[in-house]
């Protein structure tokens, strides 16, 4: 069976055994919209057991090649209609801090990608949060956490590049707008293939921002200071 979809202007296909379709359908990316058009690229799925890996590859490919959008690996929340970006590699603590900010009243954008348009505004990438714990990964919607998801694109107010360090306090230093651009560039999916476009978008996004970089301890302890970056 070939499932075809369009996402962010790109057409993708997933070929899989018919017996696995139902098992995989519930794990498709949240942007998966069926299309009858021929896919630009097709992935093969031998069994449902490979679904997370193959779907991860599809999501990453769309993120790199999205039309008129730049994907930055970052958590995103909005406070009073202005976005806070939390760039970080896998396991940096983006999801945990995002969830803590939602609990403090922020609106959800993403725990994975900040999706930027050429005007520098952030669009939601509202997949369920993937919360890691001792039992593995649990997918939880923002609504289940009692949070709203912002719908319209919002301007960037702040960037906080924070790495989780157990037992550590909130140890950050301000960084300039230009350095913030570099830190975001370092987390941009298409930084190699569309470097100049990415740079232009990041510059547009960071004209009037506050930015910090450093480490944090428990997420709940960091929330007041992180929120204040936007509120100021």
């Amino acid at each position: 069976v070939l499932l075809t979809a369009v996402g962010y202007g790109r057409r993708v296909g997933l070929r899989l055994p018919s017996a696995d379709v139902e098992a995989v359908r519930g794990r498709l990316p949240h942007w998966w919209t069926h299309t009858g058009a021929a896919p630009e690229r097709t992935w093969e799925l031998a069994s449902a057991g490979q679904a997370d890996y193959v779907l991860g590859e599809i999501e990453l490919w769309v993120a790199e090649h999205a039309v008129d959008r730049i994907f930055v690996h970052a958590g995103v929340v909005a406070i009073d209609g202005r976005a806070l970006l939390l760039p970080g590699r896998s396991a940096a603590g983006k999801t945990t801090l995002t969830a803590a900010l939602l609990a403090a009243g922020a609106a959800y954008g993403s725990d994975e990608y900040a999706v930027l348009s050429p005007d520098g505004r952030v669009h939601p990438y509202a997949r369920p949060l993937e919360i890691r714990d001792g039992a593995g990964r649990t997918r939880v919607s923002a609504a289940d956490l009692g949070a709203a998801t912002f719908a319209e694109p919002v301007p960037v107010a702040a960037v906080a590049q924070l790495h989780y360090q157990p037992g550590c306090g909130y140890l950050v230093a301000p960084i300039s707008a230009g350095v913030a651009v570099l830190r975001l560039f370092d987390h941009t999916v298409c930084a190699r293939s569309r470097a100049a476009e990415a740079l232009d978008t990041l510059v547009a996004a960071t004209h009037r921002i506050r930015a910090v970089a450093g480490s944090r301890g428990e997420a709940s302890s960091a929330v007041p200071a992180v929120r204040a970056l936007v509120g100021g």
């Binding site: 991860g56 790199e64 890691r132 039992a135 300039s176 230009g178 570099l182 370092d186 987390h187 190699r192």
Partner: protein, 226 residues
């Protein structure tokens, strides 16, 4: 460097660069190397003054900095290949003049980032486990991790198994697949593998497998855990 008549003065490189002013800073994308640089305000002014005609004193004056500071920044801009240096330019003299403010990129506050591969932004996705009973009440575990990330070298595997059982080993990555072998000394049916970050603090991926219990001293072929 003071003699502009010989024409031996550094000047801004323009080919294969994308330059964006950002507030008082400058972002420079080097398309040859895929590297992005952020020049602080002071270095921006120095870089702007590197026209190929200005002496070091004139560069310093235009940027509003002392000559040693300008010399150090010019040297660092040369090191980053952001300035073209014509034949006859005396870089040793420049280094001598800049020595007062120290060497290295950090002295000028230039930050650089090499564009990462897309896969650097991916999370580990799947893990599989096989076992081979090696006899003498021990078994070897083979772990495979598949991940869109091409170089998850920052991860360590921590193997967690039930009470009374211990084992740990290393895993190496080749492309998108990592494999490692672990020896454990007690038979067990449930194996939980945790992938943690390179500090061992954050659990990136956890999966529990069920394996057939080994006969105590009989070697067995490799079989998959489920």
């Amino acid at each position: 460097m003071e003699n502009r008549a010989d024409g031996a003065m550094p000047r801004q490189r323009t080919k294969d660069l994308a330059v964006r002013a950002h507030c008082e800073e400058t972002l420079v994308l080097d398309r040859r190397t895929g590297t992005a640089h952020c020049l602080p305000a002071e270095v921006t002014r120095i870089w702007d003054a590197c026209t190929g005609r200005n002496t070091l004193a004139e560069i310093a004056s235009a940027a509003g900095v002392a000559e040693p500071t300008a010399a150090s920044a010019v040297d660092q801009l040369i090191s980053l290949d952001l300035l073209e240096v014509p034949a006859g330019f005396d870089r040793r003299e420049l280094l001598r003049r800049g020595a007062l403010v120290g060497a290295g990129i950090a002295a000028a506050g230039i930050e650089s980032v090499v564009a990462p591969a897309p896969s650097a932004q991916a999370s580990p996705q799947t893990m599989t486990l096989q076992q081979q009973c090696t006899g003498t009440n021990s078994r070897e575990l083979f772990i495979t991790l598949k991940n869109p990330a091409s170089s998850p070298s920052g991860y360590n595997f921590i193997v967690t198994v039930p009470t009374g059982v211990s084992g740990q080993g290393n895993i190496s990555f080749n492309g998108t697949t990592g494999q490692g072998a672990f020896n454990i000394t007690n038979a067990t049916s449930t194996i939980t593998i945790q992938l943690r970050d390179n500090n061992g603090n954050v659990i990136v991926l956890t999966k529990t497998f069920t394996c057939t219990i080994c006969p105590t001293t009989t070697p067995q072929p490799i079989q998959a855990c489920t």
